[in-house]
Symmetry: C2
Subunit: 229 residues, 2 copies
């Protein structure tokens, strides 16, 4: 088993495929391994993304240049993350970010046709790819709904009421960690915790880890109505 196979085996797309099988697979399918020095640009915003890149070793940064020229860091990528797997099959498959090597980086690159082959050959790979895309769609759609609320307090109230409808219970399980919920709202984790703390103190909710008991849903609805929402 070589280093490439064992790095790939750690990637969620290859979960469930034995590393020995991945090893044999790499003898049969076409791929390229690319090396980048620290600081090198791996891909430019605006590139057509028609090959799947997976980081075998090292770390990279994704950042965007916004319309008015500012550079904004979007996310950190590290081995064994795939890069932009969600847009590989889109019609408008332009890379929305520029990807830069933060350390020396080694990447494996598969043609789109090879990814389709892997989907058809391995149910686990197909399911992992589809689940990841589905999760991205749900996350982005949730984010859009929450962007329409102004304050963190309103976003949190809307989120809890939404989960109460989805889960049909007054005791709901948070579907994401607090880190991810903060990301969903576009706020910091401490600011989010403060709002949860306030709701607990006011007797609106009770919390046990990821389980949240909604004691006074009407107070959450009142929060939404503040400021004319």
């Amino acid at each position: 088993v070589n280093a490439t196979s064992s790095a790939l085996a750690g990637c969620f797309l290859f979960e469930g495929i034995p590393v020995s099988e991945i090893d044999g697979l790499l003898d049969k399918i076409p791929y390229t391994v690319k090396q980048y020095h620290r600081g090198a640009i791996i891909a430019f915003q605006g590139d057509q993304y028609d090959h799947l890149m997976i980081i075998l070793s090292g770390e990279a940064d994704a950042h965007i240049q916004s319309g008015n020229g500012k550079t904004i860091r979007i996310e950190s990528l590290k081995s064994p993350d795939p890069i932009a797997s969600g847009i590989l099959f889109a019609d408008n498959n332009y890379l929305p970010v520029t990807v830069t090597a933060v350390t020396d980086v080694s990447l494996i690159v598969f043609r789109r046709e090879t990814v389709l082959f892997l989907c058809r050959q391995y149910r686990e790979f197909l399911f992992a790819y589809m689940r990841d895309m589905g999760d991205k769609i749900v996350f982005l759609a949730d984010k859009i709904r929450h962007l329409t609320f102004n304050t963190i307090r309103q976003k949190t109230a809307a989120f809890l009421l939404d989960q109460r409808i989805r889960q049909r219970l007054d005791s709901i399980t948070l579907p994401y960690t607090k880190e991810v919920i903060a990301e969903l709202f576009g706020v910091t984790r401490p600011a989010l915790s403060r709002v949860f703390g306030d709701f607990v103190e006011e007797g609106v909710i009770k919390q046990e880890g990821r389980l949240v008991h909604i004691i006074q849903p009407e107070k959450l609805k009142e929060t939404l109505a503040e400021n004319g929402e």
Copy 2:
């Protein structure tokens, strides 16, 4: 060839698979056909969506109940649209909408496992499914970027500058129709056309159908800066 096969053949997921083949396929794979009377509820917001539904005939409406009790119509669905195909494989696969029959409706229902089987059996089906999910991800991510701009004028300027970076040309091709761009911005089509018309009149852009020549990009950047963006 029966009516079910010919309805399915019109669905984008089955594009490229001959209708005779679909006919034979339906003898081999498990599925259910369901009938709903006009006004009936097909699925509730909050249901776990673990079967793929495709409308064979009739029309349906998707609407949501927001946290504070309002009902908002989200989209119209008609034969041969699939319902919520993007969330079928998500971990949090709760249906974000309630689906109601507007006319008498007939649906075909496939288990998730059967959808995976179709993906592995037919490259066309797999590619169409992946492309549709990818398009949704790109559309939602674009929508989030444009929600941060306030006015239609700013949204349009940001969109044009963004496409200019992606396409690396001063003459860009609009990647969506005006209807879809209006939907992306959450505005009406006439309001969007007015803004394009203004930019043309001010000499900022020239337009020939879906081709837009950006004559004065700096004016678009100034538009973004209005109101402190």
